[in-house]
């Protein structure tokens, strides 16, 4: 009897006199000091249904205000504007693949939620998107530890070429201090790269030997390969652009060919 009363009063308090879900979320949001939208987030719930097994994702790029991700069947992309807790997605588009009915349904619902959303509330794991106090979806920040990034630069006095590849994006920059050209990574390319990484002793690339050093007399642009893995960055010694150490030559070739294809 005592138990029933306790439960009952708890429910009563929570629903009618205690703070609402929305107020609790507001409370948590105000406790978060670092409210930045950058990098990859995984979608956990959609209309309070757990969909974490479907691997939907959303990737924010704070510098370009672009957004992209996987919406259950297709990849989507677009832009966003945000100010404090106001958030709006603009001109969302997707690739045009058809999948099974379940995936299509989730995708439509997810994209609709993005279009409707006008409020973002942060919590310690990620954030929720809402419209008029109603939660549409919640996400958690992808673990930084698992993110791999590969950066290739070739530079000389008159030359600059920087390519950054990660699971989501390929960015290429031909002018020092300019605006990079960004495209989403293709899944098969990223797969090739991660396969290649398995046979490279990433932690020790700083000890590789450059087979030639024409860069010493300007006969080649100076190239560097940087690999970020498990939150740490490993950097190769300088080598001639066009003639990398053999241990990483296939990887460098792949990265260069990926970047050429997005030009």
């Amino acid at each position: 009897m005592k138990f029933i009363v306790t439960v009952f009063s708890a429910i009563l308090l929570r629903c009618c006199w205690g703070p609402s879900d929305f107020q609790l979320m507001l409370q948590e949001d105000s406790d978060i000091t670092l409210k930045e939208l950058d990098g990859k987030y995984k979608i956990n719930t959609l209309s309070d249904m757990d969909i974490s097994s479907l691997d939907l994702s959303i990737v924010f790029n704070e510098s370009t205000k672009k957004v992209s991700g996987f919406s259950g069947c297709n990849r989507f992309f677009g832009s966003y504007t945000s100010e404090k807790n106001a958030l709006k997605f603009n001109s969302l588009g997707t690739t045009k693949m058809l999948c099974n009915e379940d995936s299509n349904k989730v995708e439509q619902k997810f994209l609709k939620a993005l279009e409707k959303a006008n409020l973002i509330l942060f919590d310690k794991n990620g954030f929720s998107l809402l419209k008029d106090k109603k939660r549409l979806l919640s996400v958690t920040k992808e673990n930084l530890q698992e993110q791999i990034k590969i950066e290739y630069t070739a530079s000389s006095r008159g030359v600059y070429n920087q390519i950054i590849v990660n699971k989501e994006t390929v960015s290429s920059l031909q002018k020092r201090g300019g605006e990079p050209n960004r495209k989403p990574s293709e899944e098969k390319n990223w797969k090739t790269i991660t396969e290649m990484l398995k046979s490279i002793d990433v932690e020790n690339i700083s000890t590789l030997n450059a087979p030639s050093k024409a860069f010493q007399y300007d006969g080649a642009a100076i190239a560097h390969l940087k690999i970020t893995k498990n939150g740490k960055t490993y950097e190769s010694p300088p080598f001639d652009h066009g003639n990398p150490p053999k241990e990483i030559s296939e990887l460098v070739k792949e990265i260069l060919s990926i970047s050429e294809n997005i030009e």
Partner: protein, 355 residues
Amino acid sequence: MKKVFLSMVAFALIFTACEDEKNDVIEVQEVDMSDFYVYTDSNNDLSSKSANSKEQFKNCFTMDVLNKQLDANPGLAKKMFDVEYHTRQFIASKSNGKGKPGGGSGGGETDIDVLPINDGLGAINIPVYVHIVLPNANDVTNSQVQAQMNVLNDDFSNPNTNQLPSGATNFVNDATNTGITFTLANTFRYNDSRSSWGTNDAVKSAYPPITPSTHMNVWVCNIGNGILGYAQFPGGNASTDGIVLLYSSLPGGSASPYNLGRTATHEVGHYLNLRHIWGDGRCRQDDFVADTPTSDGANYGCPSYPTVNCQTTDMTMNYMDYTNDACMYMFTDGQRNRMRAIFASGGPRATMAGN
């Protein structure tokens, strides 16, 4: 730790392997070559530490260890070692110092001042042949060629200390007059429809150098891939000796901000045995010049002063950095001594100076 141990074993092996030759070596003067590198990277340079004399390096180590990386040109490392050895020995003999020119102290901002040594070489003049190879070779005019010669002569003689930022008091002592001048001997024009020549000396094979032992040959052409120019260190193959310049890098050309003729100054620096000021590697890899600060990479554009790397202020205004033409305006005394040493008797360009 394991790595250190392995390195020590490798070191010991090389050392004992060299022991046989050691007895035959007559050391003329002690020259410390421990920091020298050609193709190897600084952290793999242990091998050269066993070579505190020229002969040991020749007999034992060059051929065995370095060759693996020098498949294309096996004689080059040895030649470069000889050039470096001669340079250090000559400078040391004239300045009563130890041979090893390195420098760029480990930490902190200490001003290392190298004095211009009295090397007895006097004024050095280099006669220059210019080969213009373009679809229309007249696109580069005689007055541009003359302007380029003027830039070289000015850059190699004028310390330009008035251009140093007011805070750069450490560098005032370093700026130098190299005592090296250039005279245009002749200009050759070749109309050639080839649109880009790359950096593999193709232009030199097509239009071979003329008497490279007594003249500096300069090819002016389109190189391609954004490359502004490239050089060859002294001691290399005579048939490719000289520098190659992007036609639009000459004064008045279109390669802004690299169109004031300083690409030529930089390449001639290499031609006269200078390395990039950052030593082409990390902090500890040196350019073999004591009065240039250490750095871990090139500077670009027009850096503000001070630009600090490896705990010292970079000399971004040095011709051997990668900054814009307008923002580089000095060689140092140490670089001067190093360049001039190659003209001394026994040096790789001795005949050019009549020695």
